[in-house]
Amino acid sequence: MTASIGVARTREWLGRNRLGHIEPSALLVERLAARRRGNRINVGTVLAFFVILGAWSVTTGRSGSAFDPDETDVSGLVFFVLTNVALILALWAGLWYAYRAERRLLAASRTRTAHPAAAGVARVLGRSHLAAVLVVHGGGLLLGAATALLAPRPPDRALALAFLGSVALLSVLSGLAVAGVLRRPSVAEDSDSLLVDDVLRTQDTRAAVAPFPILVALVAGVGSTVGSWLIWSFLAYAGLGCVCWAYAELSARRTAPVPAGIR
């Protein structure tokens, strides 16, 4: 019964990822089950973070909200970034669990399959997503540096510096996560499982570079002085980032499940 549920879920996942022609193997069923457990760890970690945060807010009498008018602009932003960092660390925890389970599955496999050609981050991520990452992360760093240099008032400068530091921190964490995903050994025993492995690696890489800096820019915009040009800078950046990310997501849905060039 449990096995048939696992096979049904695997078929559903394959269909959703346009891999319906692949027959679910025992390795794939086990692997996707480990992924689901990893996702539950991810959600559990996030929930635990928010419970601790709520308890801390109640005991210290702080609301902890980034939008609290009693909070200073910078502390609200820093608080929000820490929430983003917690989300990234939760993603790491889920992936770490799934990768450990996959290594155990591989140890029992008689055959192992891999690509004979190296594939860099551009190939795994896909060109449109890579462009979106450059706009969101690179653009965020440029915007932070420019606003920190040009902002006339000290509170605005402090906010811009906090934004710059936040984007830099999120970019470093995303980079570390991507490096971990790219280093992960292939989990494949034939061409079908290798294709699934490519799809999972691409999905993990895209999750690792989630556009958190856009959310940070929106919070920074809310924290800016009313009427300041900083608000429009942050909003323009967030708008551009959203358009690029939406384009990347839409083009990924239109094209093959694995970016061209990997296979």
Binding site: T111, T113, A114, P116, A117, S186, E189
Partner: protein, 116 residues
């Protein structure tokens, strides 16, 4: 794609070497293609680093791949040139065999004897 069968009688390094050599020969791997690092391929296939290093070394000695320092290991153009030279020599030999009146089986047996 490279597949390793751990239960096979063929040593793992030979499985890696033969599959890479085959894919370079039939141009599945084009000239200039960067191969995975030794460590990466070893991790992917669950092999020891030395096993993959030996396969790469033999491919390099055969002129099929070349190592460009820290940039990595690439499918070599030398292998392509070697194949072109061998094909030219074969065409010349075939022309001589025809002019001498040798039949196909005899011409091939001479080649086999020469290759050893």
């Amino acid at each position: 794609m490279i597949t390793i069968d751990t239960a096979s009688a063929v040593p793992p390094y030979e499985q890696v070497r033969a599959q890479l050599a085959g894919q370079i020969s039939d141009r599945t791997l084009a000239v200039g293609t960067r191969l995975p690092t030794v460590r990466r391929l070893a991790a992917d296939l669950g092999l020891a680093v030395n096993t993959v290093a030996r396969a790469y070394r033999e491919l390099e000695e055969a002129g099929l791949v070349e190592t460009r320092g820290r940039a990595g290991t690439f499918v070599s153009a030398a292998g392509e040139r070697s194949r072109a030279a061998a094909a030219k020599a074969a065409r010349e030999y075939a022309a001589i065999a025809r002019s001498l009146g040798l039949d196909r089986a005899e011409a091939l047996s001479i080649v086999r004897a020469a290759i050893g």
